[in-house]
């Protein structure tokens, strides 16, 4: 299920529309993930405040979306483009890769909430494929 040329165009166009809201998207997606999938809180036991919209959640949401922005820029070769991030997740963070799907779902929910008329089924399928491809690239170095 690799990204077609049409998928990439759709993703780049949609990202151009939404990227100025990247931090808000990241903060909301992360907030929702921590509430709806409480098992994900286990990765953030070092934060003082895990409630929706808290300072550490906002900051980390921005970090995550900066990674997504980077992935959009490197969409033609995610595996090599995200190598450093993959090493970070594999050796340092050791996030169970199952969680990539969970966060991706919440990003999609936030996109639907924030951009109800732009987040058409066609954009949805392209973004779902893209986030899956990013997750795969991030898992590259795991084993």
């Amino acid at each position: 299920m690799s990204l077609t040329a049409k998928n990439k165009d759709t993703i780049r166009t949609f990202w151009a529309k939404v990227s100025s809201n990247a931090e808000a998207i990241g903060a909301d997606a992360l907030s929702r993930m921590l509430v709806v999938y409480p098992q994900t809180k286990t990765y953030f036991s070092h934060w003082k405040d895990l409630s929706p919209g808290s300072a550490p959640v906002k900051k980390h949401g921005a970090t995550v979306m900066a990674g997504v922005a980077d992935a959009v820029a490197k969409i033609d070769n995610l595996t090599s483009g995200l190598l450093n991030l993959s090493e970070l997740h594999a050796f340092t963070l050791r996030v169970d890769p199952a969680n990539f799907k969970i966060l991706s779902h919440n990003i999609l929910v936030v996109l639907a909430i924030m951009f109800p008329s732009d987040f058409t089924p066609e954009v949805h399928v392209a973004m779902d494929k893209f986030l899956s491809a990013v997750a795969l690239a991030l898992s590259e170095k795991y084993r």
Binding site: D28, S31, R32, L34, V35, V36, P52, H105, L108, V109, A112, I113, M114, P116, F119, T120, P121, E122, H124, V125, D128
Partner: protein, 148 residues
């Protein structure tokens, strides 16, 4: 037995009473057929599903979307006994329709995305999302229960 908090019951009934099955159902099913195109295998008699526009305009998709979404009424009315309330439907999906139960999970995802877009951030809060997704997960589980 599934435990529901008062907040969860409130979220589910608020969302359910404010959504139009005839609006949300077709949108959710269309989205399923576009985003996860292999699901089209279950609808060989539906006619033109060749493009997102065709799917969105397809009257059989709309009708079936309404039917499926309306099926959630059983769960809303039997919140404390969803497992048994869906036993017959579960058997039907397994024995008669031969639907891979993973599709229930996938459709639930599409329903959540459509509901999120419909209600926006002030209603579909993280707390409401949690309750709604838990509700759908229980329905999904009940529908898969009679498979063997």
């Amino acid at each position: 037995m599934v435990e529901w908090t008062d907040d969860e019951r409130n979220a589910i009934s608020t969302l359910w009473s404010n959504l139009d099955v005839a609006e949300i159902g077709p949108q959710a099913l269309s989205r399923l057929l576009v985003v996860f195109p292999w699901t089209q295998r279950h609808f060989p008699t539906f006619g033109d599903l060749s493009t997102p526009a065709a799917i969105a305009a397809n009257p059989k998709v709309a009708q079936h979307g309404k039917t499926v979404m309306g099926g959630l009424e059983t769960a809303v009315k039997n919140l404390d006994n969803i497992k048994n309330a869906y036993a017959k439907l579960s058997t039907m999906h397994s024995e008669k329709l031969h639907v891979d139960p993973d599709n229930f999970r996938t459709l639930a995802e599409c329903i959540s995305v459509v509901v999120a877009a419909k209600f926006g951030p002030s209603v579909f809060t993280p707390g409401f999302q949690e309750a709604w997704q838990k509700f759908l997960a229980v329905v999904v589980s009940a529908l898969g229960r009679q498979y063997h």
